[in-house]
């Protein structure tokens, strides 16, 4: 393991701060790098900072598992994996260098490879959390298969800290692809969707597909032979690898626009409906980024009609940045929150006003 990396177990302080907060009924605002603080609703609470609790706890490349403390910078983890020729296949966005692995799991955001490789939660194997009763517990583990008890680790992913404070995570990792080719083709959106569908049926090794500004950008990853054959079939021009980083980190020119940014998550075969604003198609059709002044109701109406949902990626635009969920389902969310965080200390209101 690299020696230049900082490894500090500061869990005792985190547990202590949670216990004090419980005793005082003091809401906590959990933060790591604060790189995704713009998502959800601003939490009014005492700050609890995970960044001092950091470092790789264990990593053995042949096990395909890495375990790290929550405050470990994602960039550091990626560097370590990279040295061993491995990666987090879900390629989570950092939205700034400060992002921590705890925040990655809590936010559950995945990058361009998600439809083909899986999401952040798909790669979560285990976690340690400080609970709403102030206990420091361990769920899941460092093994690929584990069905003992409820899958608390994956429940934590994407829960924005509302169910407990993540202090450590174990993630499945995979070898980096042997070969990568990125291509760009001038295609209308509808034509691009048709092509993507035919490539899917032909099992081409696509690992990124984004339509922006009248061009389809495609990433191919796999063995040398399959990537070459797919590139020959697809044609188009060479595309710089950096495109995918720029897309993932919202650094494309498209994102430089004063209108609010919305994320639409849709079934991948959703027909292209006119969206009220400018849009790019990511995830081969399953994720659309929309720059729009339209109201939350209008945008959500479109997403819901297509059996999807919409999240506002800019604070202050709507009081409900995450799409409201049906009342019956919300009841079970609040019951879960009530049981796991009975004193309401963890990020109250971050996801929904109800919890």
């Amino acid at each position: 393991m690299r020696r230049d990396l900082i490894s500090i177990d500061d869990s005792a302080r985190l547990v202590d701060q949670v216990q004090c907060a419980i005793a005082r009924r003091q809401p906590l605002r959990i933060r790591g790098g604060d790189s995704k603080a713009f998502l959800g609703t601003q939490v009014q609470g005492e700050e609890i900072d995970t960044r001092s609790h950091r470092g790789i706890v264990s990593y053995d490349p042949s096990e395909l598992v890495i375990t790290a403390r929550a405050g470990t910078p994602l960039a550091e983890m990626n560097a370590i994996l990279d040295e061993a020729g491995q990666m987090l296949p879900c390629e989570p966005p950092t939205f700034g260098e400060a992002a921590t692995i705890g925040g990655v799991v809590a936010a559950g955001l995945s990058g361009p490879r998600r439809p083909w490789a899986g999401s952040v939660r798909d790669f979560v194997l285990g976690c340690r959390i400080v609970t709403g009763e102030g206990r420091h517990l361990r769920f899941g583990g460092q093994v690929m298969k584990n069905v003992a008890g409820y899958d608390v680790s994956r429940l934590m992913s994407g829960s924005f800290g509302c169910l407990g404070l993540i202090t450590e995570v174990s993630m499945k990792v995979l070898p980096k692809p042997r070969e990568t080719r990125c291509l760009s083709l001038a295609l209308e959106a509808s034509e691009a969707m048709r092509e993507l569908s035919s490539w899917r049926k032909a099992a081409l090794p696509v690992s990124g597909a984004c339509h922006v500004d009248g061009r389809l950008h495609v990433r191919l990853e796999g063995g040398a032979g399959s990537v070459r054959a797919a590139a020959d079939r697809i044609g188009g021009e060479h595309l710089d690898d950096d495109f995918w980083t720029s897309l993932r980190e919202h650094r494309l020119a498209f994102f430089e626009d004063d209108r609010p940014l919305w994320r639409l998550s849709l079934p991948n075969a959703t027909p292209l409906a006119a969206l009220p604003g400018d849009a790019i198609i990511d995830w081969g059709g399953a994720q659309r980024w929309l720059k729009s002044e339209a109201s939350a109701d209008v945008i959500r109406g479109i997403a819901s009609a297509a059996a999807g949902h919409a999240t506002c990626f800019v604070p202050g635009v709507t009081p409900e940045p995450f799409q409201p969920i049906p009342a019956a389902l919300m009841r079970f969310h609040t019951q879960l929150k009530q049981r796991l965080d009975p004193h309401r200390v963890f990020n109250p209101g971050r996801m929904y006003a109800d919890y």
């Binding site: 999401s119 583990g141 608390v152 994407g158 063995g223 998550s265 995830w283 949902h309 879960l336």
Partner: protein, 499 residues
């Protein structure tokens, strides 16, 4: 332990007037088929763990989701426990009935509602068999990836409840990675949609939570699964080793070299000989260990990976390496492995299958530990191993009719699971806790962690009416059974392949 529900350890259950319940339900749901005569109940007294048998108070066989909702609402209002059951192939007694409970059999929900080849999804009822989904998708060149050994019989609702795996998990994931949406009915009769046809849904990831929850949180009434394009090509290599540790190292080297095989299986000498004797797969009977490594994908990548794996196996000290020359030989190589359980069943009157998982690096140590225990208890143990993902299936050979052997088999099984937990693994990789491993949960989790699980349960089922006595032990039970204590289980459905 006695496997029967124990009110002193598992919590009190209310006594019910069965005749009144039947009367009420007939009035409430005139079309619902109910079984209540003793002879009609018998076929439902066990699931795949047939050593555990309890006759349910009554069996309900609903046809519609409305009936499921109404039945659960009624049960909730009257404090009647409900155990949901799919095809009943589970190996941990997860669908073991309760004498004081209703067994809710979902077998009639057996329709494939939709296969959408364009979207790559299938929407199915929970009683649809796992293999039937792949069969329905096959005309489109698609399949459903998780392939538990019982896939010709097990149902997708049960797969969701158990987070079922199979031999291709390392590359293609478990059930949780291959479903998009489930509909459940909660104990208070609420119908909820978890997940969506999109790749995520707003709110908590309750889809992940419900997967593998063993029928404790809700009853699955519909499932939307992802379908994958069939790999163009698949090749399998069979490697022999004169030392099981060398085989374990070979596995680590294959993975470290960046190859993720579609399947990577290991067998020890006892398992090899039993399988060869039964199937005549051409296995090396003198080898201490055998590795089966299947690589799949695009033709050219498969060629490349095969060459790479072969070189690695040679460096790792394989004494013989064979590439299946054709599809028939590939099938034969796999047939030996897939029939390892029944093969072991031929060389021993009884055997007991374990399901522990370990980090792969611990393999040699755990296998040595198992060998020591085998000598100490005087019982043979055959090892088959999903080497790619660390899931061990030690098979303990014993004779239930020989005095004391069953007790020894239970004891050694408990010690093996302890070894797995000590090595940083889990008591169950894919078979579930059910009733069978309820006491071993006390070894894997401390009382705070178990309390947390109970809190999750209470958020969905505060009265504890769904599948009581399964999956998560009461703290009282753990206090009583602080040490490991594993019970005998025989493998039913001998006609099914077991991985």
């Amino acid at each position: 332990m006695s496997y029967a529900y124990d009110e002193k350890l598992d919590g009190p259950l209310r006594d019910h007037d069965k005749a009144r319940i039947v009367r009420d339900l007939r009035a409430l749901l005139p079309d619902l088929q109910l079984l209540h005569a003793q002879e009609d109940l018998r076929p439902f007294e066990c699931d795949g763990l047939s050593a555990y048998r309890i006759t349910p108070m009554l069996v309900a066989l609903p046809d519609t989701i409305d009936e499921v909702q109404a039945l659960l609402k009624y049960a909730n209002a009257h404090d009647i426990p409900v155990v949901a059951r799919g095809a009943g192939t589970g190996l941990s007694g997860g669908a073991l009935p309760l004498e004081k409970g209703i067994l809710l059999v979902m077998a009639r929900f057996s329709r494939i509602l939709e296969v959408d080849a364009e979207a790559g999804i299938a929407r199915v009822q929970p009683g649809v068999r796992n293999l039937a989904i792949s069969q329905a998708a096959a005309p489109h060149g698609l399949y459903y990836a998780p392939d538990p050994s019982s896939q010709i019989a097990c149902s997708i609702g049960g797969n969701v409840a158990e987070n079922a795996g199979g031999v291709h998990c390392l590359k293609y994931g478990l059930t949780v990675h291959n479903i998009l949406r489930v509909e459940i009915v909660t104990i208070d009769g609420e119908r909820l949609t978890l997940g969506s046809e999109a790749l995520d849904a707003p709110g908590f990831d309750l889809l992940a939570l419900i997967t593998g929850s063993e029928g404790m949180l809700g009853v699955v009434v519909e499932v939307t699964v992802k379908l994958l394009t069939k790999p163009q090509s698949a090749k399998v290599l069979l490697a022999s080793f004169d030392d099981i540790e060398k085989a374990g190292n070979a596995v680590a080297q294959i993975i470290a070299a960046g190859v993720i095989p579609g399947g990577l299986e290991m067998m020890d000498n006892l398992a090899i000989r039993a399988a060869e004797d039964f199937i005549h797969a051409g296995y090396p009977v003198d080898a201490e260990a055998l590795l089966l490594c299947e690589v799949d994908g695009a033709e050219s990548d498969v060629e490349e990976d095969c060459a790479r794996v072969e070189a690695l196996l040679r460096t790792a000290g394989a004494t013989d390496i064979r590439l299946a020359a054709n599809e028939a030989e590939r099938q034969r190589f796999w047939a030996g492995r897939k029939n390892a359980f029944p093969a072991v069943g031929r060389i021993s009157p009884d055997y007991y299958c374990m399901d522990g998982t370990i980090p792969r690096r611990e393999l040699s140590r755990v296998l040595r530990g198992i060998a020591d225990l085998s000598a100490q208890y005087g019982l043979r143990v055959a090892n088959v191993f999903h080497a790619g993902d660390g899931n061990m299936h030690p098979l303990i050979l014993f004779d239930a009719n020989a005095a004391g052997e069953m007790d020894r088999a239970e004891a050694i099984g408990a010690r093996i699971l302890e070894l797995c937990v000590e090595a940083g693994g889990s008591i169950t990789g894919e078979h579930g806790v059910g009733r069978e491993k309820i006491n071993q949960m006390c070894a894997q989790f401390n009382s705070d962690e178990l309390t947390f699980f109970h809190a999750v349960k209470a958020a969905f089922d505060p009265s504890g009416l769904l599948n009581p006595g399964k999956n998560v032990p009461t703290l009282h039970r753990c206090a009583e059974f602080g040490s490991m204590h594993v019970h005998h289980g025989a493998l039913p459905h001998p006609e099914l392949e077991r991985f």
